[in-house]
């Protein structure tokens, strides 16, 4: 019997698990996929929004601004990259100028610090690569960037190091109420918990209906991206948004914390919650608008494309509610959910307390986690010491991103352990460079097979039927 079961190992479930692991609680995270951070958390804009977007008085606005203030400290404790690069919302004409003034006022009343309205000269000085058609901007110095899956892996790893458990490949398909709490069913397996937190992203409505709650629904809205080679990562230093219009927020251009350049997202309402396909129209849209924003984006340097699905709730705001004592929904967490996640975790902890869960401090709690980039960021002397101790740090496996065997083994051995090629990729960046695993894929496959004690052809890209190899050659036999 767990004290708390968290459904969904995205950034929201992950941050909540970490928060709760600071208390003397038996916690279990249940995730239907083979790894953590496989939902919206792995495919989004990776922006820690300053908080001028959300409507005054909304939960979104409140938790965004709080979360954005907390994020830097959280990132430091978890050893994940965070960069306070500042955001610019650019305008092309007088109508935009007016909208930006409204955003400025809204931001101020939401409590966003240091907002500034800029004229043409100032904004071009700040960001020289902007298109010459840009005439004004809203500048939010508190805007930042982070890597959402790195944050989530670290948060869940930290929660696990503090005692939480993680069950992957556990899709909750039924929930039964018992005297002590709930039974969560996945196939033949059952997990019992006194409290349940529903952080199932797009499927939070389905989970809700399992306890007879149909008070809200969630639908997917597609967002496609193009990711450019690190060569292009310094083209802009700020996150460049367009002025929002009736057509939505438009395509942004932003550096990532890993030094790539990110273009996107599109915004298309969908029905199928599993359709994460990219489209030719989407690519065309991204390329057109990104080129309007910034000059000289070398589109030939695209290294990958991807698509995320926003979990759009039926109320227009975050839905963080308790339909009954013992059950909490954290639903409709679309953007700025990543930014808000640290604040969401505190909000939920407070709700649990109100519901009578006793939150006694865990005396062994350690908020810090060793950075997955400890080797990469070490000094030369330190690196050489580490190589001497563990020669695997001297063997470079991923040549494009310079990732060593030692770092890959760390990812396979550290909570939450990488179990497939994509898992290694998200934890170490190996296979994320310009050759996209062409060179190192076969070698990482070998490391995974050896470490997990499974046959070479048993290694997958991301669990399930995503086999890398489907058999052996004639000679292999």
């Amino acid at each position: 019997m767990y004290d708390v079961a968290i459904i969904g190992a995205g950034v929201v479930g992950g941050m909540i698990a970490r928060k709760l692991s600071a208390y003397q609680l038996k916690i279990c995270i249940l995730e239907k996929e083979h790894d953590v951070a496989m939902g919206a958390t792995k495919a989004n804009s990776a922006i820690v929004h300053a908080g001028f977007d959300a409507k005054e008085g909304s939960l979104k606005a409140k938790l965004n601004v709080q979360g954005s203030v907390m994020m830097e400290q959280v990132a430091k404790e978890l050893g994940v990259k965070y960069k306070n690069n500042g955001s610019l919302v650019i305008g092309f004409d007088d109508a935009d100028r007016q909208t930006l003034a409204e955003l400025y006022t809204r931001g101020k009343s939401n409590g966003v610090k240091d907002l500034q309205l800029l004229g043409a000269e100032e904004v071009h000085k700040l960001e020289p690569a902007l298109s010459s058609k840009v005439v004004c901007a809203l500048y939010a110095p508190t805007g930042a960037i982070i890597c959402p899956y790195e944050l989530t892996v670290a948060a869940i790893g930290n929660a696990m190091d503090n005692g939480a458990e993680l069950k992957c490949d556990f899709e909750v398909t039924d929930i039964q109420k018992t005297d002590e709490g709930y039974q969560l069913v996945s196939g033949k397996e059952t997990v019992s918990a006194r409290y349940v937190i529903n952080c199932a992203g797009l499927y939070t409505d389905r989970i809700a209906s399992m306890i007879g709650d149909d008070s809200f629904s969630v639908h997917p809205r597609r967002g496609e991206y193009l990711l450019m080679d690190r060569e292009c990562g310094t083209l802009v230093s700020h996150t460049v948004f367009r002025t929002p219009s009736k057509m939505g927020k438009g395509i942004l251009v932003s550096p990532t914390v890993d030094g790539n350049l990110l273009l996107g997202p599109t915004s298309v309402d969908m029905e199928d919650k599993e359709d994460k396909e990219t489209t030719a129209e989407g690519f065309a849209h991204i390329i057109r608008e990104a080129n309007e924003n910034v000059d000289g984006i070398p589109m030939g340097k695209t290294i990958t494309s991807f698509c995320g699905l926003r979990a759009v709730g039926s109320t227009g705001d975050f839905i963080i509610t308790a339909p009954e004592t013992g059950f909490i929904h954290v639903a409709g967490i679309e953007s700025p959910g990543l930014s808000a996640s640290p604040a969401i975790s505190e909000y939920v902890a407070d709700m649990l307390k109100e519901q009578g869960l006793s939150l006694k401090e865990n005396p062994d709690y350690n908020p810090n986690r060793k950075s997955a980039y400890a080797f990469r960021e070490a000094s030369l002397e330190e690196k050489n010491r580490m190589i001497k101790e563990n020669p695997a740090y001297g063997r470079v496996v991923c040549r494009c991103e310079t990732v060593t065997e030692g770092e890959i083994l760390d990812a396979i051995r550290t909570n939450p352990k990488a179990k497939d090629l994509d898992g290694v990729k998200r934890r170490t960046r190996a296979q994320m460079g310009r050759c996209q695993g062409g060179f190192c894929g076969p070698y990482i496959t070998e490391l995974l097979a050896k470490e997990m004690g499974i046959p070479y052809e048993g290694v997958t890209k991301f669990g399930g039927e995503s086999m890398i190899n489907v058999g052996v050659t004639k000679e292999g036999k």
Binding site: G438, Y456, G476
Partner: protein, 411 residues
């Protein structure tokens, strides 16, 4: 201080090392990130190497061994499992391996021989899902030839580069079904002999002016939609065809691996993506030379060795401080001829200029011009982007020449 450091122990690096040794240099070090010498040839177990050089058809490993043997006989030092991380313009090399840790070497001369890598899917922006089962042809070759595993059973290949053609045959021989090779262009980028021996002999259809417009499948590829493209390479609506398959192999081009050249501030050509070099294969940074696929993509390893020998011998001359009278004759092209190597002549001596054309042309005249004057001409029946061409200029022909221009005229 080391006289000559060679980055990369593929055919280019090994040939260069041997040539430098034969020119009298003894203090040589080859740095190779792989656990064996031989470069990409290690995984090319098919025949077809060395026809020009040795007059016999060798496999990749056999060809590589000829050079590795020499390197070993001459006791030229090399370090394996050693990745070069950085080169500075004043020739300080930073490298890492598990024995020495991260270390630095000051070199008198450097030869860049890092080879090339395959272009990945990202650059193509194919719509659809991103399941397992999409590999570059070279990666598939590694799984099959080096590891003994089959990355798929029902295959579509996008791109008709040589590696793709060779893998079409290899996968077929291993019992897989290759449904089609789609090529965006109206001609193949691969060698004519590979189309004959790898596709036609196995009845594998080559679909020219076709591309993959969508990838299907959630966890593993379940099929691809292909379509014909128009002259502007845009898919033509209504020509879509769904092919069920579990694997998509990409053979869509090779890119010289020049990250280190950039850190050394070597000037790169936007066309070849390799260094701009002179007849000695010396780059814009004195004492840094380049050869093999890192300089420009070769289809035949024989020419790689040839080029590497020039680089090796020239590096030796540089180390000994031998420098001729300096001239500067740029070699320009008309765009129909896409590029030349070398791109500049800095000495007046016999020189073979290698080049590639932008499209397929029949019955052509290649002209080397000095202003309006024809220095040299050469007729060819057919030229194609997939086959490297060359033309040799004699020292006498360079007398009084200020700049040269290569043009192609269709007769």
């Amino acid at each position: 201080m080391t006289d000559l450091v060679i980055i990369g122990g593929g055919p280019a690096g090994m040939s260069a090392a041997v040539a430098a040794y034969e020119a009298g240099i003894r203090d040589i070090l080859i740095l190779e990130r792989d656990s064996a010498l031989g470069g990409i040839l290690q995984q090319c177990i098919h025949n077809g190497f060395g026809l020009h050089r040795f007059g016999e058809e060798l496999t990749g490993p056999e060809y590589a061994w000829k050079y590795e043997k020499k390197v070993r006989e001459l006791e030229i030092p090399f370090k394996l499992d050693t990745m070069v991380l950085d080169i500075t313009p004043d020739k300080v090399i930073t490298a890492t391996n598990s024995e020495d840790g991260i270390f630095q070497i000051q070199a008198k001369a450097i030869i860049l021989a890092m080879g090339c890598r395959e272009r990945a899917k990202g650059a193509l922006n194919i719509a659809g899902s991103r399941p397992a089962g999409i590999y570059s042809a070279g990666t598939a070759q590694k799984y099959v030839n080096m590891k003994g595993y089959m990355p798929g059973k029902n295959v579509v290949i996008l791109g008709s580069g040589d590696i793709g053609l060779i893998m079409a045959r290899r996968m077929t021989l291993e019992g897989a079904k290759v449904h089609a090779v789609c090529e965006l262009m109206p001609y193949s980028g691969g060698l004519a002999r590979n189309i004959e021996q790898c596709l036609n002999d196995f009845d594998i259809p080559l679909k020219l002016s076709h591309t993959v417009v969508k990838i299907h499948g959630k966890e593993r590829v379940s099929g691809v939609t292909i379509a014909q493209v128009d002259a502007g390479r845009k898919p033509i609506a209504g020509t879509e065809e769904f092919i069920p398959c579990d694997t998509l192999l990409l053979s869509v081009g090779l890119i010289p691996e020049n990250e280190l050249s950039k850190s050394a501030e070597v000037e790169l050509s936007p066309i070849t993506s390799g260094a701009v070099v002179d007849q000695d294969r010396q780059t814009s940074v004195p004492g840094i030379f380049a050869c093999g696929n890192v300089l420009h993509v070769h289809d035949l390893v024989d020419f790689v060795s040839q080029e590497a020998e020039i680089a090796g011998a020239s590096a030796a001359a540089y180390i000994r401080g031998e420098q001729g009278e300096a001239v500067s004759i740029p070699l320009e092209t008309d765009g129909i001829i896409r590029y030349t190597v070398p791109q500049i002549l800095t000495a007046k001596k016999d020189v073979t200029v290698y080049f590639r054309v932008a499209d397929v042309y029949k019955n052509v005249k290649i002209k080397v011009l000095d202003g309006g004057r024809e220095v040299l001409t050469k007729k060819r029946q057919k030229v194609a982007p997939g086959e490297m061409e060359s033309i040799t200029l004699k020292q006498e022909q360079l007398e009084g020449v200020k700049r040269l221009r290569l043009e192609l005229e269709v007769l």
